[in-house]
Amino acid sequence: MAAFEPVLTKGIGELDLADIDVYKQHGGFSALEKALKEMTPEAIVGEVSASNLRGRGGAGFPTGKKWSFLPKDGRPRYLVCNCDEAEPGTFKDHMLLRLTPFAIIEGLIISAYAINASHVVMYIRGEFLEGYRIFKRALAAASAAGYLGKDIMGSGFTMELILHRGAGAYICGEETAMLESIEGKRGEPRLKPPFPANAGLYGMPTVVNNVETLCCVPHIINRGAGWFSAIGPPKCPGPKIISVSGNVANPGNYEIPMGISARELLEEYAGGLLPGRRLKAIQPGGGSSAAIFEEDLNVGIDFDSLAAKKTMLGSGGFVVMDDRTCLVRASQTLVRFFEHESCGQCTPCREGGQWVARMVGRLEAGEGSVNDLRVLGVINNTITGTNLCPLGDSIMPFLSSVLRRFPEEFAAHVQQAGCPFQKAPEFSAA
């Protein structure tokens, strides 16, 4: 393993970082102090821009650029922290929320100061009950210590943090659907433009940042943009937490320097495949991403390298499937998820999703036809890229990629009128 010292996960598993005193003893809030006392908001935006930090929520948009889009027209501004992590195969934000909540709070305050937002909304996924309780306690402790509220650390900067729990809709992780949800409406993505930077929460300029993105900010303040951008490829540098799951020896969250190969991640970090198994497919960026295969393992784990392979880093959910996996069944699971979570606004996502889910379900049940295979092969053209938000574009990539790579496996389901694989138990202990 390369000599990389963890940044975001440092101390996790060893220290109780959910205790404010422990967090402070290990350097916590030093970046906040530096930001508030030594830096102007413009300097912070400049530093973050220079670091080339790209959003960790999935789209990989440069954070500094996002901040600098805010119009300077005197309207109130809002910062929203997206902690609605629900992408299948991704569980990094949940870990940060539970194990190092003050890092999120520190990142939030610095970012709010940088963009001059006096109100911050922390949107926590409804299912994260334990994380919510931990964060709420952390919030109380941070308030008691004077890190929130009026005149923070004597800087004159005032900020209020509002906790908002989601109600269990995947779509609310989409930033404009999240804004609707916070406003008390149905969680449905908005038409863009206007973008949140111009007309976001309650019509005001708004920035929505992912938990992990915000956690990077204090380190950039403390150690400088140069240090950050030296980690990994210059265009998408920095540390990145990857949630590895599936058929590997050691599933879990691993913090890597951006750009290491998929092979290194799989073998050095996650302990490789289980004994005697062969790799079949990997989703490198959560349930929405197209699969990569054995021959792609030298690809770098970063935004640009994976995009060149027609897949994506996404939110960093690295799902490994070995030769026991039925790809039809895996596709069915994913498609059913997106079909269920579609908000129903756009026709291709709403109708196409349920149609594909029915076809794949039929294949797996042994009732599929050659016609289904033919339709599944081309329906990508009318579903992907034709919707308002990325959810509709998430339905097909995995299915299309594995159908292209393993057409015989799909055909076998038709020919044998059933699934050739042993049905996995619903809940696996291992």
Partner: protein
């Protein structure tokens, strides 16, 4: 006075308002066009005659980009873009017919049709359905779905007017957005999620909007169908006639669709300046009364106390003698015109003045005195950019719903402020400031405001008077709306507007009358002191109040009433009953056996708005033409024919034109003459009004006993006339009610839902009590003009009254219900039925 905060900044700009006036050059399918920067691609294409298919997009609503049928290819953009929300920029090159676009359209249509029931042969929309049309034009030839379709609820009863088929629904959300953006009511919503989504109501109850019928028109498929039109016709079998709605003074343009000589439905006919493409449900559904047995189909003449059917000539002959005799002595009067066309109103006053030789002509059959402002006549469109809307008296949601839509938009989306001055808390769909003020004192308030505005702004008068004055002075454009009942207040308002006008504030006034064409009747000279086009006469005649008083005192020998029902609508019910009972001869021209017609000596069966042509003048003073869509029944004659025949029988043949074109020519000739004579005079002479002291009965309200002040309030589906007889409107008709303040309810021992008897100077009525603080303490707000509980029994001529309230016990209530079959309408029916 708390000023409500405006709603949040709008996320998107109205599609009709491009962001600038700068023109940009765009190429669409190889054709160049210059359009304002910011125009939507779909609108730019329209300018070239290129039609891009749309479902969710509607020009009157914010684009949402949901249905994805309008995807087009724009050069330099890798993905297909939606034409309904992408705005053009300089040099943009758009392809709407490329193979990529065609494939995307086929895909969307295939998706929409996957679970669509394809029940076109029994669908009302078949023939005018966008799903049918676009599938024909752009769709795939066959579906690749080879499994059973998913099913959803069918024939869902959404409310009194709408039936919903969830399977046909393509979830474009035009209806829910109409309810939220245009009606500002937010009751119609999407429930459930994804492909399980359904259209439903936010509160789970019925969809009862006054504008519900519009959703059946904007629905691109057959999901929302209107109950009166369900399974009645196919679109290609319908004949179309351009018409004007005559249910309120807004004058919405609509189309009458007929089949086999019978009206099947009405349909919007967009006039951006008047109705903006919408009509209300009362206007839309009030036409089936024409086909009810209660419709008068031939003249009736009273013989030996009973009505007997008569021929038209017999009815004319029976009227000519008494009218001629009364005209000899000048003891004759004519009431009506406010529900007639401009031509008919003109001919009615001509009949009075040139045939009966009297100036005793008045269109005012209710408490309304004025139908126009003396100056500063506003247009409906002025509401769009008004910054302050000041209302007294008029309850626009109930009296002029389509005007209210404009008002809602101005307040909700353009940050206009709404201020209501009146004797009760009004109900508006948008935030409203309310200043409680007794009716008689509003004129004083206007005068005080004038003073404060005029004599320096630092001079502070009454706390809230100076606050309102500040609002007025701070407003960029002020539109005042009133109901024309309080002539003194209207005069004071004119002066206030003069003052504001001096300070360069654009100002305007709209008068919302209670009759559809009171403005036209006023201008046509159905006023005792004004001949057509507001020319004062030398010897003014009697007002309606004076005529009724004279009749009650035996000083009038004959009364002719055309298209008016004072027995129900005239505030002083006691006076009108005595008058109609006392006058020796009463002739009435009516479509229905109204309370007035029921006590007449001769009743002419008159044709309806759909059976004649003519013009109506709306509250802006805008004259609009309507055309006959169907033939009247045999035995039914137009008012013009009735007036003309009466004139001939009275020896004045040819004075009254019997057809609308000739009468219109006479009216225009009179107006031209007068326009030349009047020159540049801008302020209209005022109609003669009665001395206020004459109108009040002097009955004092004694709050210590069970006495309440009575204020009548309108409701859209309330009142008498056509709406009372129409089965299309019947499901929405309210029961008579009185809103009583909670404090009074305690004092009177009343609960919501109790039956209560209100007894006043002209008798008693029985209504349902509703306990709410919309009514101030000591006041009962009573639903106006209900035939089964006529509130005018409690009122004096001022339009207000008082009554003692008595809770009815169960047995009294039962007796009341048994007895209620013999109230006025029933009487009329029984009499007419016996005669016919």
């Amino acid at each position: 006075m708390p000023i409500p905060k405006g709603p949040g900044v709008q996320r998107s700009v109205s599609p009709l308002q491009p962001s600038s006036h700068r023109l940009v050059n765009v190429i669409i399918d190889g054709n160049a066009v210059s359009v304002p920067e910011g125009t939507l691609v779909v609108e730019a294409a329209k300018a070239l005659g290129t039609s891009v298919p749309v479902y969710c997009y509607h020009p009157k609503m914010d684009p949402v980009g949901l249905c994805r049928i309008c995807l087009v290819e724009i050069e330099k953009m890798p993905k297909l873009q939606i034409a309904c929300s992408t705005r053009v920029s300089e040099g943009m090159v758009v392809h709407t017919m490329s193979e990529r676009v065609a494939e995307a359209r086929r895909g969307v249509l295939e998706f929409l049709l996957l679970n669509h029931p394809l029940d076109c042969p029994i669908c009302d929309k078949g023939g005018e359905c966008d799903l049918q049309d676009f599938t024909m034009s752009y769709g795939p030839g066959a579906s690749r779905l080879n499994e059973p379709k998913l099913h959803k609820p069918k024939a869902v009863d959404l409310g009194p007017t709408i039936v919903l088929d969830e399977e046909r629904c393509i979830l474009c959300r035009r209806c829910t957005r109409f309810d939220a953006e245009i009606a500002q009511e937010r009751n119609l919503v999407v429930v459930e999620r994804g492909h399980r989504s359904l259209i439903g109501t936010e509160n789970g109850g019925a969809y009862t909007s006054y504008f519900s019928g519009n959703t059946t028109e904007i629905c691109p498929v057959g999901a929302l169908t209107s109950k009166p039109y369900r399974f009645r016709s196919r679109p290609w079998d319908l004949g179309h006639t351009d018409s004007i709605c005559n249910q309120c003074p807004v004058g919405c343009n609509f189309r009458i669709d007929t089949r086999f000589g019978r009206i099947m439905r009405t349909f919007t006919r967009e006039n951006t300046s008047v109705d903006d493409g919408w009509i209300c449900d009362r206007g839309r559904y009030t036409f089936n009364y024409l086909y009810q047995p209660s419709r008068l189909r031939q003249p009736l003449v009273r013989r030996g106390g009973e009505f007997v059917a008569a021929s038209f000539d017999e009815a004319i002959a029976a009227s000519a003698g008494p009218l001629a005799a009364a005209a000899q002595t000048g003891r004759v009067g004519v009431i009506g015109g406010g529900r007639l066309s401009d031509e008919e109103a003109f001919s009615l006053q001509r009949f009075a003045r040139q045939v009966l030789h009297t100036n005793n002509i008045d269109h005012r059959a209710g408490a309304q005195r004025l139908a126009s402002p003396a100056r500063y006549q506003a247009r409906l469109e002025d509401l769009d950019d008004a910054s302050l809307i000041l209302i007294f008296g008029a309850l626009t949601p109930e009296q002029a719903p389509i005007l209210d839509l404009r008002l809602r938009r101005a307040v909700a989306r353009r940050h206009a402020k709404l201020l209501f001055v009146g004797p009760y808390r009004p109900w508006f769909a948008v935030p409203c400031n309310y200043i409680e003020y007794t009716p008689g004192a509003i004129g004083d308030l206007m005068n005080q405001l004038s003073d404060v505005v005029h004599h320096g702004r630092e001079e502070k008068g009454d706390g809230f008077v100076s606050e309102i004055a500040n609002e007025l002075v701070g407003a960029e454009k002020i539109i005042a709306i009133h109901n024309g009942r309080d002539a003194d207040a209207a005069g004071a308002l004119d002066r206030l507007m003069d003052t504001l006008h001096q300070y360069d504030h654009p100002v305007g006034i709209l008068v919302v009358g209670s009759q559809a064409n009171s403005r036209g009747a006023e201008a046509a000279g159905c006023i005792p002191n004004l001949s057509p086009a507001y020319i004062p006469v030398d010897d003014p005649g009697m007002t309606t109040h004076q005529m009724l008083t004279a009749a009650a005192e035996g000083k009038l020998d004959a009364l002719f009433i055309a298209g008016a029902n004072p027995a129900l609508t005239y505030p002083d019910g006691l006076l009108v009953r005595r008058a109609l009972d006392s006058v020796p001869f009463l002739a009435v021209a009516e479509q229905l056996m109204t309370e007035t017609a029921a006590v007449a000596d001769v009743v002419f069966a008159a044709s309806s708005f759909a059976e004649k042509s003519g013009h109506l003048t709306n509250l802006e003073g805008r004259r609009q033409a309507f055309k006959a869509a169907v033939e009247p029944p045999v035995g039914v004659f137009s008012d013009l024919q009735i007036f003309s025949a009466l004139a001939s029988a009275l020896g004045r043949e040819g004075v009254i034109a019997a057809d609308a074109d000739a009468a219109f020519a006479q009216l225009r000739a009179a107006e031209d003459l007068i326009r030349r004579a009047r020159g540049g005079q801008t302020s209209l002479p005022r109609p003669q009004t009665d001395d206020v002291s004459d109108l009040h009965s002097g009955d004092a309200v004694d709050a210590t006993h069970h006495t309440l002040a009575i204020i009548p309030v309108p409701r859209l589906y309330g009142g008498g006339g056509a709406a009372a007889y129409d089965p299309g409107v019947a499901p929405m008709r309210p029961e008579p009610f009185a809103v009583i303040h909670p404090d009074d309810a305690v004092r009177l021992g009343l609960d919501s839902g109790d039956r209560v008897q209100l007894s006043g100077r002209g008798g008693s009525i029985e209504v349902e009590a509703k306990i709410a603080d919309q009514a101030p303490p000591g006041v009962a707000l009573v639903l106006a003009d209900m035939p089964q509980a006529p509130v005018n029994r409690l009122l004096d001529a001022s339009g207000f009254g008082s009554a003692t309230a008595q809770k009815l016990r169960a047995e009294e209530r039962l007796r009341g219900e048994l007895g209620s079959s013999s109230v006025a309408v029933g009487d009329g029916y029984a009499a007419a039925g016996a005669g016919v």
